[in-house]
């Protein structure tokens, strides 16, 4: 069996109540602008408040400012933040991805330098993987690191980099050596986004927001101590990093709040179709959540559920889009940007960002390949 059934224990349920209480007090419904899942706003001060509660870097070691808590506990906090539409943008990447990767592969010096600041909710990271010629095929990256006195000089262009304009650092996947095996000779460097030679150009997203960027690196000097892990091990490290970011609640909650608002604003006029849509959606959220929770529990047992994570992400993101389409078919509205109704504002945001759900963090086509290989047919 790929997924084992698991329930939250008393301590985990208490944490869930604590987070709900915190959010109701800190971000009362109607008193803030909620966002859609991990696409929600950036808010340094909110991140700092979460950090003060110990809810950033939860699963990182205490000696680096973390809280030695479990993947399941992190799951409990994350799902509540996402379904509430809380502004998680500032710390999102650092908390989910960069922190765990530095903890796993980084040097002692890097851990001491970055992890405490991540856990305080201060540092914001971006992801420097994609390039114009390297989307799903990440081994095709052309950004090049060449040895220099005391470190490396990096030149190349990263694209579709979410939040680079507002982040402090990004982790750059680059080619440090030519090798016949294209998966060798890749490295990850931690690059200060304010370094000389870094140019960040906003690339307007479908919805007009400028969270998306193109980042050019022109002979950017990166000191030796900011090589993440080992030179030449970038591919293996990067693959494990992708496994960290799959299978969590952010892969099936992106359109949750849209439906909650639909119920809040319109359930008085619900007909049979609306009830069917709602019943179907609730069953799927419940089922997907069970799968996702099982993945978190498996991580806590020290295993690496890569296939399970790929199955959940592929299924969850498809569901996010199916649900959006069902809502669009159900309601007869002409959505107006910046309208009065929160439901309509969320509908606009969901429609205009929806195509990204099944692309970001690995396209569904790639995920299917990953999962199929793990199913043992070949």
């Amino acid at each position: 069996m790929l997924f084992e059934a698991t329930d939250l224990d008393e301590g985990e349920l208490a944490l869930q109540r604590e987070v709900r209480g915190f959010l109701a007090a800190e971000l009362p419904r109607g008193k803030f602008r909620p966002g859609l899942g991990m696409g929600a706003a950036r808010d340094r001060s909110f991140s700092a408040k979460l950090a003060a509660r110990g809810w950033i870097g939860m699963a990182l070691p205490g000696r680096y400012g973390g809280h030695d808590r479990s993947a399941v506990e992190r799951f409990v906090v994350t799902e509540e933040l996402l379904r509430w539409g809380a502004p998680v943008g500032h710390h999102w990447v650092a908390d989910r991805q960069t922190g765990p990767v530095i903890n796993r592969f980084g040097t002692e010096e890097q851990k001491q330098r970055f992890l405490p600041a991540i856990c305080r909710g201060e540092l914001s990271f971006a992801i420097g993987m994609s390039e114009p010629e390297a989307g799903s095929d990440l081994a095709a990256v052309r950004t090049r690191a060449t040895p220099a006195d005391g470190g490396w000089t990096v030149t190349g262009t990263k694209v579709w980099t979410s939040g680079a304009h507002a982040s402090d650092w990004f982790v750059v996947l680059c080619r440090s050596d030519d090798d016949e095996d294209r998966h060798k000779g890749l490295s990850q460097l931690i690059v200060d986004l304010r370094s000389d030679g870094v140019t960040i150009r906003a690339v307007p997203f479908l919805d007009g927001h400028s969270d998306f960027n193109e980042v050019s690196l022109e002979e950017v000097f990166v000191p030796e101590e900011l090589v993440l892990g080992a030179i030449g091990q970038g591919w293996a490290q990067n693959t494990s990093e992708l496994a960290f970011e799959r299978g969590g609640p952010e892969r099936w909650l992106s359109t949750y709040l849209l439906v909650e608002e639909l119920v809040r604003e319109r359930s008085d006029e619900f007909g049979e179709r609306a009830l069917l849509l709602l019943g179907d959606a609730v069953a799927r959220w419940w089922g997907l959540r069970r799968l996702s929770l099982s993945v978190a529990r498996t991580i806590d047992r020290g295993e690496a559920p890569a296939v399970q994570s790929a199955l959940v992400k592929e299924m969850g993101t498809r569901f996010e889009q199916d649900l959006l389409a069902a809502v669009q078919e159900l309601v007869d509205v002409e959505p107006v940007v910046e309208g009065d109704s929160l439901f309509e504002r969320l509908l606009v945001a969901a429609v205009l960002t929806g195509p990204s759900f099944t692309i970001r963090g690995g396209t569904n086509e790639i995920l299917r390949s990953v999962a199929a290989k793990g199913l043992g047919a070949l």
Binding site: M1, L2, F3, A5, D7, Q16, R29, E79, R83, Y256, V259, E260, E261, V263, R264, S267, F270, E272, A274, L275, L276, L277, L278, G279, D280, V282, A283, R284, W285, W286, G287, L288, R289, R290, L291, S294, Q308, L311, E314, M315, E365, R368, S369, A371, A372, L375, G376, A377, L378
Partner: protein
């Protein structure tokens, strides 16, 4: 899974007895005394004597082997009466209640869709929230019918048949019936996914296993997703046995019956279109069980109405807390 030994025993016994040939023969003959007797002798027919979750786990194993015997009905009869019933016994599904009436301890009317009605000793029906037990031999007429899987779903006619027992129904048959079907379907989906994945690795076309083709991989992944989702949902529904979890699990199972059978058949091509190959023993059961005790629409409507009534603020708490919340 609380009792590993119990399940392991069930798995061995069902694998030994419910071979492809034995299941085919049971369909042709309308009953398999050999399989039923083997299960009875080992105690597996007395599902109501087990913890609820264990009984449902045995049903999932039965679904994995397409067991052609009324195990789910044995469980349902026992749950309705609050104690095990000497069997083979069957249960009249709620949809067919309208045509039955009970006066002075005498049952009259037509019971339709009775699983294995021709082969059982007793029938349990629910009339005005009372569980009524009547000997099957008292039926004045038995019409043989079958569901999409060729499992007997017979029509039994009673005329002033003296009932053996009447007592308040100890559970909600709608919900428990759906719970048994979700458990069976979880097993059938798991078996179908395994069979299909293995086949795709063995079958070669164009000089390579068909599993090497991305278009085929897509079907395998979707099958594994359906099987995983329903497997976990059925297990959680078995743990709680509450309305929310049952409604969600049966809904997910019934929807998966449509998508997963389609994917599995597409991978198998013409190989899956005959009764000589095992796939149909799972796909036909999934189609049949999909609509028994309520299909995905019925349960989606009920669940949707319940969460809409509870309101927007309760929506996420319901998703996490289930029947404890609504």
């Amino acid at each position: 899974m609380s009792d590993w030994l119990l399940l392991d025993g069930a798995r061995r016994l069902l694998a030994d007895t419910c071979t492809h040939e034995a299941v085919q023969a049971a369909e042709a003959d309308g009953w398999s005394a050999a399989i039923w007797d083997a299960l009875s002798a080992s105690g597996y027919a007395d599902l109501a004597g087990l913890e609820l979750a264990d009984a449902l786990a045995v049903l999932t194993v039965a679904g994995e082997h397409a067991a052609p015997v009324p195990l789910a009905e044995a469980a349902l009869a026992g749950w309705l009466l609050g104690e095990s019933v000497e069997g083979p016994v069957s249960v009249v599904a709620p949809g067919a209640f309208g045509e039955l009436s009970l006066h002075d301890g005498l049952l009259s009317g037509t019971a339709r869709g009775v699983p294995w009605g021709r082969a059982i000793e007793r029938v349990v029906a629910v009339i005005d929230r009372q569980a009524v037990v009547v000997p099957a031999a008292l039926a004045t007429g038995v019409e043989r019918r079958a569901n999409l899987a060729g499992e007997p779903r017979d029509t039994l006619v009673f005329h002033r048949a003296r009932v053996e027992d009447v007592r308040p129904a100890a559970c909600d048959l709608d919900e428990r019936g759906a719970l048994t079907r979700a458990a069976l379907m979880a097993g059938a989906l798991a078996a179908m996914a395994r069979l299909t994945i293995r086949y795709a690795g063995e079958r070669r076309q164009f000089g390579r296993p068909i599993a090497a083709f991305q278009a085929v991989q897509q079907h395998l992944v979707s099958l594994a997703q359906d099987a995983s989702l329903v497997g976990l949902a059925a297990e959680h529904a078995a743990r709680s046995a509450g309305f929310f979890e049952i409604a969600a699990a049966k809904q997910l199972a019934s929807r998966a019956a449509l998508t997963a059978t389609r994917a599995a058949h597409q991978v198998h091509g013409a190989m899956g279109m005959t009764q000589e190959y095992r796939l149909h023993q799972f796909s036909r059961r999934l189609w049949a069980w999909r609509s028994e005790y309520g299909d995905e629409q019925r349960w989606a409507g009920r669940l949707g109405a319940a969460v809409a009534r509870a309101g927007a603020d309760s929506l996420y708490p319901a998703i996490t807390g289930g029947s404890a919340v609504i």
